[in-house]
């Protein structure tokens, strides 16, 4: 028989697009440097003297990341790295600017060091993890690790309580938030678990009215996650992480089973749990958050020492001062907002870049998430689909919770803004997250090997 047409007309290939990536990366570094120069101009009336050093430093770091990516994940998505670079760089500039204005707690050099470390960790992850599917074998290990990391801050001696939340551990002078890494481990666990169990979760059950009810025994894992996230809420007083974990699990359950009933059950469980928590006097901080959310302008709440609305209102004032176009980098007064360098960095950005700038930042987050979901669609095996979908969702969900909180759309919960807020643990774990997405996009976009066959006996595969 004659050779089949396939060989004459090979499978069209996706381009590698490394050139595009290099261009966008250079663009990103240029934007960050321009922001740095403008912040210096606005604050001191002159371009910062160390600008060239920082520019070259950032450029060199990005070159390292780019080379690691081009060498070890050549088919990876061309946009992820440049988009993250802009966000991370803008965060750095804002922190530098707040640090420069003499705010206690903000420290640009530390954040710069963590950024460098984050990029190194990104490159190392790409080099070490050649095939993310090994993670599927570590499903239950990852689950156990995630739980352990969540519990660590509660242990005596190493656990520390800072700003009313017990989410830190101290190791030799450093404070680490293990919860940030637990988040990644748990997403890996959820993905592996749901690949194994999704058929039974999707198909078994009865239909009641318009909703497919799952079987009682299949509710087990959902209830366990619910209890764990409530435990986080109660024991560590960390409303944000609790919401983040539970929401991510429900979203991944929905991706795996396509059943709306899981989302409804999850929402009911969370709202019920949060309502109960707000009614029990021992968890006064939940109730305080709800009151602040409903009446932030109440003078009594504004003046309250702990858990008052002063921070939120200062953030809203900052957004108002910024208006549409912003006051310009280095010209605003972000030092007035408590924690403007970490939780409230978006309020600082809103003041200095205005609505236009905030929208651009949120668009960049949206694009990162879009690339993640796109990887999930393009992936060919269910584990990659769930892992990419879950990681993209956790990023989107985190941005939603913090932006919603800062703008008073939803009750404020302490979560870091990914890549922007000051904080090493969050930065490292988010860079690992991006490395995982890059690794998966490399697998998903790589053209499939083609089988060349002569009469069914020998098979040759070409890559």
């Amino acid at each position: 028989m004659t050779a089949p047409a396939v060989e004459a007309n090979p499978v069209p290939m996706t381009a590698k697009r490394r050139g595009t990536q290099l261009f966008m990366l250079t663009f990103a570094v240029a934007i960050v440097m321009a922001a740095y120069a403008i912040a210096g101009l606005g604050q001191d009336g002159q371009v910062p003297g160390d600008m060239l050093t920082y520019g070259l430093g950032l450029g060199a770091l990005m070159a390292v990341a780019y080379i690691a990516l081009a060498k070890f994940a050549p088919w990876a998505d061309p946009l992820l790295l440049p988009l993250v670079t802009v966000i991370n760089g803008l965060g750095l500039v804002l922190i530098w600017r707040i640090d420069h204005a003499g705010r206690n707690g903000a420290s640009a050099p530390t954040q710069l060091m963590w950024t460098a470390l984050g990029i190194v960790v990104f490159a190392v992850t790409l080099v070490v993890l050649r095939d993310h599917r090994v993670l599927q074998r570590l499903t239950y290990t990852a689950g156990a690790l995630g739980l352990l990391l969540l519990i660590l801050p509660l242990l005596p001696f190493i656990g520390k309580e800072i700003n009313g939340a017990r989410i830190w551990i101290g190791i030799g002078g450093f404070s680490i938030q293990p919860g940030e890494f637990a988040k990644l481990a748990l997403v890996v666990f959820f993905a592996g678990y749901l690949v194994a169990k999704r058929d039974v979760l999707a198909l078994a059950g009865r239909r009641l009215l318009f909703i497919d009810l799952p079987r009682a025994r299949d509710l087990g894992p959902v209830l366990i996650t619910w209890i764990v996230s409530l435990g986080v809420l109660v024991l560590q007083k960390d409303l944000g992480s609790s919401l983040l974990l539970f929401g991510t699990f429900i979203a991944m359950l929905y991706i795996a089973t396509q059943r709306t009933s899981w989302v409804l059950i999850g929402l009911l469980l969370f709202i019920g749990g949060a309502y109960l928590a707000s009614k029990i006097p021992a968890f006064g901080h939940v109730d305080a958050r709800l009151q602040v959310w409903l009446n932030p302008e109440d003078p009594e709440l504004y003046d309250r020492e702990l858990g008052g609305s002063q921070q939120l209102m200062q953030g809203l004032f900052a957004f108002g001062t910024g208006g549409i176009l912003g006051t310009g980098l280095g010209v605003g007064n972000p030092t007035l907002i408590p924690l403007s360098f970490s939780d409230f960095i978006l309020a600082a950005a809103g003041e200095e870049l205005g609505l236009t700038g905030i929208m651009a930042i949120i668009m960049i987050y949206a694009l990162i998430v879009e690339r993640g979901l796109r990887i999930s669609i393009a992936a060919r095996d269910p584990f990659t689909k769930l892992l990419a979908g879950g990681l993209a969702f956790i990023l989107a969900w985190q941005v939603f919770i913090i932006v919603g909180g800062v703008t008073n759309l939803i009750p404020l919960t302490g979560l870091v803004t990914p890549f922007m807020s000051q904080g090493g643990s969050a930065l490292l774990s988010n860079w690992i997250l991006i490395a995982l997405l890059v690794r998966m996009s490399d697998t998903a976009r790589r053209p499939p090997p083609q089988a060349i066959q002569d009469e069914g006996m020998t098979q040759v595969f070409q890559r």
Partner: protein, 156 residues
């Protein structure tokens, strides 16, 4: 530094930030639809083709539908695809999770306006309707192909 210069710099920065966003969207656009000049080289992602079918001649199958087995209900768009591989391998177009399927079980490809099914030396065989596929065989529209527990067919 005068107020006006600062204002201009500020506006220019916002414009550049947005230009970056637009450039990123442009990259995504090229990714989906291919560069404007080159002929469509976008066929690799059949699941999300936004362009209408270019070769929609009558009588040619438009999609591949899984009608039985665990993947029941999955459809693949055929209009811009040139090869469909079926098997348990992770890089197959249709990844089967089925003990009765081989890693590289079968493939489907178009030739002269027809789709051809070819068994790739599988253990349990590929069946076109009731007969075992021993050589590349044209697939008529609506005739079931059985691979392990999975049944697929071509539809218009």
């Amino acid at each position: 530094m005068s107020e006006l210069t600062l204002l201009l710099i500020r506006l220019a920065f916002l414009a550049v930030l947005w230009f970056f966003v637009i450039a990123a969207v442009g990259v995504i656009r090229t990714d989906l639809f291919g560069p404007k000049t080159a002929p469509a080289n976008t066929a690799r992602k059949p699941a999300k083709q936004a362009k209408p079918a270019m070769r929609s001649r009558r009588g040619e199958p438009q999609k591949l539908v899984v009608t039985g087995g665990p993947l029941n209900g999955t459809t693949l768009n055929l209009t811009e695809t040139t090869l469909i591989t079926i098997g348990r391998a992770n890089d197959s177009t249709l990844v089967l999770n089925d003990d009765y399927a081989s890693t590289r079980h079968a493939r489907l490809f178009p030739q002269d306006g027809q789709w051809i099914v070819e068994d790739l030396g599988s253990t349990n065989g590929t069946y076109l309707d009731r007969s075992k596929v021993t050589r590349p065989t044209p697939v008529p529209i609506g005739v079931p192909i059985r691979i392990g527990k999975t049944v697929i067919e071509l539809r218009k």
